[in-house]
């Protein structure tokens, strides 16, 4: 599923997600060179470093929530999961965004996932 793609995973991302990425053919890389940047916590130190980087300021380093990778698993396709909805913005602007848009998709996903786990 992830063949030919490189990703960086924050330390806040669970090992299971990283393993799934690799098992589906994805490669791992440093945060400066990876095609995809994944984090589960915008306020973790390694992720904040990205928000402070020149790449981010120049709009060349969007961080996605690692729940995107988990969401691809049951669907067995990257084309049916809208990655553009999994943007993980800096922690300091998340609250002002919640006022305008409600919950982020990666927050609702967590609920759905845990309900699925209960049912199975």
């Amino acid at each position: 599923m992830f063949k030919g793609k490189t990703a960086w995973f924050s330390g806040s991302v669970g090992q299971g997600v990283t393993s799934f990425w690799v098992s589906e053919g994805g490669a791992l890389s440093s945060w400066r060179t990876a095609d995809y940047l994944f984090s589960a916590d915008a306020s973790s130190e390694d992720t904040e470093r990205i928000y402070e980087s020149e790449d981010y300021v120049e709009n060349r380093a969007t961080v996605f929530h690692s729940n995107f990778v988990s969401a691809c698993k049951p669907r067995q396709s990257v084309k049916s999961v809208p990655i553009g909805h999994y943007v993980l913005p800096p922690a300091s602007i998340q609250n002002e965004l919640r006022v305008l848009i409600g919950r982020f998709i990666w927050e609702t996903d967590e609920q759905v996932m845990s309900e699925e786990q209960i049912n199975t």
């Binding site: 060349r60 999961v81 553009g84």
Partner: protein
């Protein structure tokens, strides 16, 4: 059907419909920017991120300014009142920017509590 001229609510934009093979962390910003309009979600996201970026840039500029000042003072042992005024204003503006970003603590909506019992 051709898209209507006015922007309907709930419309999906390039940020919504392009999948992983069509954009990554490096190109997402450019994809959103090149899109003629954004859906409500991507519009507010882009505006908030842009504001954050501007405040990051301001932080960098002020660091450089402070550094230059120290350097100048070391060399000439003289500080003009104009310099001091400028750096004061810079700091003032910065503290405003920072507090702007952190003011709102919002209560999260709890959909389960909305159900009313007659």
């Amino acid at each position: 059907k051709p898209p209507s001229a006015s922007k309907p609510r709930g419309l999906r934009c390039a940020g919504c419909v392009k999948h992983m093979n069509e954009m990554d962390s490096r190109s997402f910003g450019a994809v959103l920017r090149s899109c003629r309009f954004q859906c409500d979600f991507h519009l507010v996201l882009r505006e908030a991120e842009d504001r954050f970026r501007r405040s990051q840039q301001l932080k960098r500029t002020s660091h450089t300014l402070t550094h230059t000042h120290i350097h100048t003072h070391d060399k000439n042992r003289k500080s003009t009142s104009e310099d001091t005024e400028r750096s004061k204003r810079e700091k003032h503006r910065l503290s405003h920017q920072t507090s702007d970003r952190c003011v709102s603590l919002t209560p999260l909506r709890r959909p389960r509590e909305i159900h009313s019992v007659r």
